[in-house]
């Protein structure tokens, strides 16, 4: 479904601030895979997702999604294939538009937008039914502006909007990190329901090792722009947080050891 071939990305190339963000990443993700992505800050997790979504063009390498070579596609064009939920609940919705307007916008993801009504009468029932599934009482607030909703409500709405048209790839960039623990677990349950029901190919970044192990069928650990660990199937199932932490620190330890060797 997603094929990354030798993806390389520098930021501020050629300046003193040069950052080697993605270091020759190759990755094949099958249809229906639910991949959790972990790694320390600056490991390249968000950069990887952003690179797939088209937030920037990679310096070299090739990206293909669902059989399309999207390497040179701008972000808006890749949106035909990709849905995203961001860490910041404010990024996924339009605050000054109503719930139904937001959902109608998402209902046209990747399609031509013409001169027929933005929100059509026949959509409303569909929107209401979808909102009922959230169990947040939002189905009665179709005409409220989204800016009036809480962060958790907005993120739940964003999840719903991201999957109104089944995406070929769903990208979740720490989408529960900015929420309180209770809301976060609600959104996470919602995520799992949606992903399982629609059998979505998903990449989910998380900082929570338990979530990384407990969700999905594949786990990737990134470190300094490289894939350090790639576990799937039973290997992933039998993983414990302790194993993962050990691997994590071993990876960092090696870096430290190399650094100290260099410095000596």
């Amino acid at each position: 479904m997603i094929v990354l071939e030798s993806i390389v990305k520098y930021f501020h190339k050629g300046s003193v601030n040069e950052v080697f963000a993605l270091d020759d990443i190759s990755l094949h993700i099958d249809e229906g895979d639910f991949v959790t992505v972990i790694g320390s800050n600056g490991a390249g997790k968000s950069t990887l997702l952003n690179g797939i979504a088209g937030g920037f063009f990679v310096d070299s390498g090739q990206i293909s999604i669902a059989g399309n070579d999207v390497t040179a596609w701008p972000e808006y064009k890749r949106a035909r294939l990709i849905s995203r939920v961001f860490q910041d609940p404010l990024l996924g919705t339009c605050p000054s538009a109503t719930l139904e307007q937001n959902m109608a916008l998402a209902g046209l993801r990747g399609k031509r937008r013409g001169l027929s009504r933005g929100v059509k009468g026949r959509d409303r029932d569909r929107f209401r039914t979808a909102l009922e599934q959230l169990g947040l009482g939002l189905e009665d607030r179709l005409l409220d502006k989204v800016g009036l909703l809480s962060g958790g409500q907005r993120q739940a709405l964003t999840m719903l909007m991201a999957t109104m048209i089944k995406p070929d790839v769903l990208l979740l960039d720490e989408h529960i990190a900015a929420l309180d623990p209770k809301t976060a677990s609600q959104i996470l349950t919602l995520t799992q329901d949606i992903v399982e029901n629609q059998n979505l190919t998903t990449l989910m970044i998380t900082h929570n090792m338990k979530h990384a192990i407990g969700f999905g069928n594949r786990l990737i650990m990134l470190h300094q722009g490289r894939i350090l660990l790639d576990l799937r199937g039973d290997e992933k199932k039998n993983l414990t947080v302790k194993d993962l932490l050990e691997q994590f620190y071993r990876a960092q330890g090696e870096e430290l050891a190399m650094d100290s060797m260099l410095l000596n």
């Binding site: 949106a79 605050p95 307007q101 109608a104 046209l108 937008r113 013409g114």
Partner: protein, 295 residues
Amino acid sequence: MTFYAALGAVEQGLVYGIMVIGVYLTFRILDFPDLTVDGSLPLGAAISAVAITSGVNPYLSLVLALAGGFVAGMATAFLNTRFKILHLLASILTMIALYSINIRIMSGPNVALLGVNTVFDPVIQLGVPAHYAGIVVFGLFAVVVLAGIIWFLGTELGQAILATGDNQQMIRSLGVNTDTIIILGVGLSNGLVALSGALVAQNQGAADVGMGIGTIVAGLASVIIGETVFGCRTIARAFIAALLGSVVYRLAIALALGAELGGFRFNPSDLNLITAILVIGALIAPNLKKRLIER
């Protein structure tokens, strides 16, 4: 203020109201402060005046003016989206360029429209007294433009324009090319401004290269007055408020110019200063209010 002064102010308010609707579209909806309007207003006037004096139907000349303004707006938006020139600077560049272009179009700094057909003739022929013709025509145009823009912003495409002004990242990840949307929106805005300029020229009997000076300031003043007086809770209401704000603004100006304090009177040339102070006041008022409450 005499009855005729008030009539004139309402007339001006309606015709410049079409410009204010355009300014609202860029300034508030797209969050794109656009100074192109100071050039696209006389551009519309110039195109319409030259077309009419060359024998083109006055109504058709409005379409040409609208198209000309649209292209001017597209130029600004293109500079901004394609070459990442700051929106303010891009619009100033287009505005300056339009000064020369307008003189080229008119082969001089102005074109008189005396003894030619205008959009008012059919209305006067219908039996409307000449001094009401302006209000009737401008009122009609303003209402049609108002209804059109409110309808348009409710369409799928219009909703994408609203979303672009609200949350670019979101709407881009829903598959909308925000650059195209900005070009379309700023183009439409300047098309309306040029239409307004064309109507003004036909009303005052001349197009002049200097008639656009201060357009943006008058536009902003009207927008802010409209929002303050009439509110802006929904899109429809906000645009109606922008149009009415323009009328209130022109009435306020007429009042100020007619007022006499002891021996002091305002000159028409004081208008820009009054407007600037009005806009500054309206812009800093919310800020001052917040600070006072915090204390």
